[in-house]
């Protein structure tokens, strides 16, 4: 089987597993958690384009998620725009913002890039909190309508599950295609060495800004979906902690791996649910797990999985000899 075929087959199996998942988890609580796994996967896949493919860190990605959510929320709740139109405007304007700040920000490297994106994220977060007339401030913005197609309204978990996972699967498929394309190879070249990429004729500056913009647009879409699913948003969901959580999802899953981003998102979404048994100790267990996973699985789950497979096949070969 060729690699391309295996890629398609793998994706179809994954998509099928997602589509039938609701039949096994009829419990509404679990279904609700799975809706969030979908949104977080979409966000992790978006960040993975930037962090995993191009190797550029962002500690402010929650800001793009928040921009999408707030633009959608304010336009539909306060000014009764059509939700789909609002979603489009949210995605486009967030993309334009990312494009404009992308040029100065992506000139920076390493810790300086981390700090600049972090600063951007915090500024946006403060704006969400302080523009009370527009966003409702810290107490949040209620009354955001559900998305709907004609008479059909996405008003419960099962409908939202399919709506959100349709977007998520599409983003995953685009990422997988991008990874194998000329652009994907150029991005990975930037990840390994910017100088070498530039020497090989890659327009490093433009490509970095483009992937940053694309990542921001997908994050904004996730934000709009989140706003219309929850029908209520508040700044607390879009702060520095969530930016860190997104980076953690991508790294725990494995840099550059699209399915890894799903695993990272799934684990970090489900973890707090399991950690409830620790009551007040959950934050400590969370911090501890974060440290331990990175210490003992620096390549993330996808990396660990690959090494395990390689070891297995090697020992099998040795057995055959």
């Amino acid at each position: 089987m060729t690699e391309a075929k295996r890629d398609i087959l793998g994706f179809l199996l994954f998509a099928a597993a997602v589509l039938i998942a609701p039949f096994f988890f009829a419990d509404s609580y679990i279904l609700n958690v799975l809706v969030f796994v979908g949104i977080n996967t979409l966000l992790a896949v978006a960040l993975n384009l930037l962090l995993g493919f191009a190797g550029q860190i962002s500690l402010g990605h929650a800001a793009f998620f928040g921009l999408g959510a707030y633009i959608s929320g304010v336009m539909t709740a306060a000014h009764s725009f059509d939700p789909w139109l609002a979603m489009l405007i949210a995605a486009v304007s967030t993309g334009v913002a990312a494009f404009i700040i992308g040029f100065p920000i992506l000139k920076l490297k390493g810790h300086y890039l981390a700090m600049a994106t972090l600063g951007f994220g915090i500024i946006v977060y403060i704006v969400f909190n302080e523009t009370v007339d527009l966003t409702g401030g810290p107490s949040g913005l209620p009354g955001i309508p559900n998305l709907s197609l004609g008479e059909f309204s996405f008003d419960n978990d099962i409908k939202n599950f399919y709506l959100i996972w349709a977007f998520t699967l599409l983003a995953m498929r685009i990422s997988l295609n991008l990874y194998r394309s000329r652009i994907g190879r150029a991005l990975r070249a930037i990840h390994d060495s910017e100088v070498a990429a530039r020497v090989a004729g890659v327009n490093v500056k433009n490509l970095k800004v483009q992937i940053f913009t694309m990542s921001a647009v997908i994050s904004a879409l996730a934000g709009s979906l989140y706003a219309h699913t929850m029908t209520f948003i508040s700044p607390a969901s879009f702060g520095f902690n969530f930016s860190v959580e997104l980076v953690t999802m991508v790294i725990i899953g494995g840099l550059g791996s699209v399915y890894g981003s799903f695993m990272g998102a799934a684990i970090l979404t489900l973890l707090p649910e399991f950690l409830r048994i620790f009551h007040d100790y959950d934050i400590i267990v969370y911090g501890l797990l974060l440290i331990l996973i990175i210490m003992f699985m620096p390549g993330g789950l996808a990396g660990g999985f690959r090494t395990a497979l390689e070891r297995l096949s090697r020992s099998r070969k040795q057995g055959a000899d």
């Binding site: 490297k109 390493g110 700090m115 600063g119 951007f120 500024i123 007040d280 969370y286 911090g287 974060l290």
Partner: protein, 293 residues
């Protein structure tokens, strides 16, 4: 005249918060220069300093003893963190190191939350709170404590880094870790020292600012990030750059809060940071070396 008095007042109060940012930024720079790690847990040492002092005072220890105990608590935390999470890692990527320090900060914050709860605590001023009048402006005795302790710390560390053998060895590690190792400097020990110095200074910063602000388990995040801003403005130097960076940040923030908008006070610090990163990414004082990868 009145406007002048107002400006003078803002500059004075900006000076004291700026001094705190400088101390925290100093802690960042010490660890960064000896290890290349940006320690996101730095703010938690600041938080530990304030909360632990209050804790020991509530156990009826006198203030000086409580301060020493609190610094010891934070320093011990720093040492344990270095030993357990930083030293075992050999070839970790900078990204993973950043996440490990973030994990540690979550852990320390969680520990503090369990220990002292989510409430805010108040540390009484070191020597009363009768305002002192200077020209048209007033300052509190605590501000004088902050100024003098900051000057003392900066002077002491200058002496340490320029005069003592250990300080010189740490600077050698900052220039080139491998070369430092080759001439017989115990690099690992220097890394441990840098964590000790950094957590001690960070906690002291937290202690002297605590009477002016409230202390709770989550104050470290913002203070740590602002200290980081100060260090970056100063070009991540162990010396004067970070001090001036901190003061500049404190004063601009205070003026911005006063004349533009108090609710955007925190945003102002980060806008300054972005402007500096965009136009002078090497810090405002560094001349050579345009890019640090």
């Amino acid at each position: 005249m009145e406007a002048f008095g107002e400006i003078f007042q803002y500059i004075l109060s900006g000076f004291s918060t700026g001094a705190i940012y400088a101390l925290i930024g100093f802690g960042f720079a010490v660890i960064y220069n000896s290890t290349g790690i940006i320690n996101f847990a730095q703010g938690e040492f600041v938080m530990l300093g304030g909360l632990a002092t209050i804790f020991f005072i509530n156990m009826n220890f006198p203030l000086p003893v409580s301060v020493i105990f609190a610094i010891a608590t934070a320093t011990l935390t720093g040492v344990v963190f270095e030993r357990l999470a930083i030293r075992p890692l050999k070839n970790a990527t900078p990204l993973n190191l950043v996440l490990i320090t973030i994990g540690a900060s979550i852990l320390i914050r969680g520990g503090a939350m369990l220990m002292w709860g989510k409430d805010t605590h108040v540390l009484p001023s070191f020597s009363g709170s009768d305002p002192i009048y200077i020209a048209d402006a007033t300052i509190l005795p605590q501000h004088l404590w902050i100024f003098s302790i900051t000057v003392l710390i900066i002077a002491a560390s200058r002496m340490f880094f320029n005069r003592s053998i250990t300080g010189k060895a740490m600077r050698a590690c900052a220039y080139n870790r491998e070369a430092a190792g080759l001439v017989g400097i115990d690099v690992k020990k220097m890394v441990l020292f840098s964590f000790i110095i950094s957590s001690a200074i960070g906690s002291l910063a937290g202690i002297i600012i605590a009477p002016l602000t409230m202390s709770s388990y989550d104050v470290g995040v913002m203070l740590g990030l602002k200290g980081f801003c100060a260090a970056i403005i100063g070009g991540m130097s162990n010396g004067a750059g970070t001090v001036i960076g901190g003061l500049l940040l404190g004063i601009l923030e205070s003026l911005g809060a006063g004349f533009i908008s108090a609710s955007y006070k925190d945003a102002i610090a980060f806008i300054i940071l972005l402007l500096i990163l965009f136009f002078r990414p090497e810090g405002i004082f560094r001349k050579d070396e345009t890019e640090r990868v």
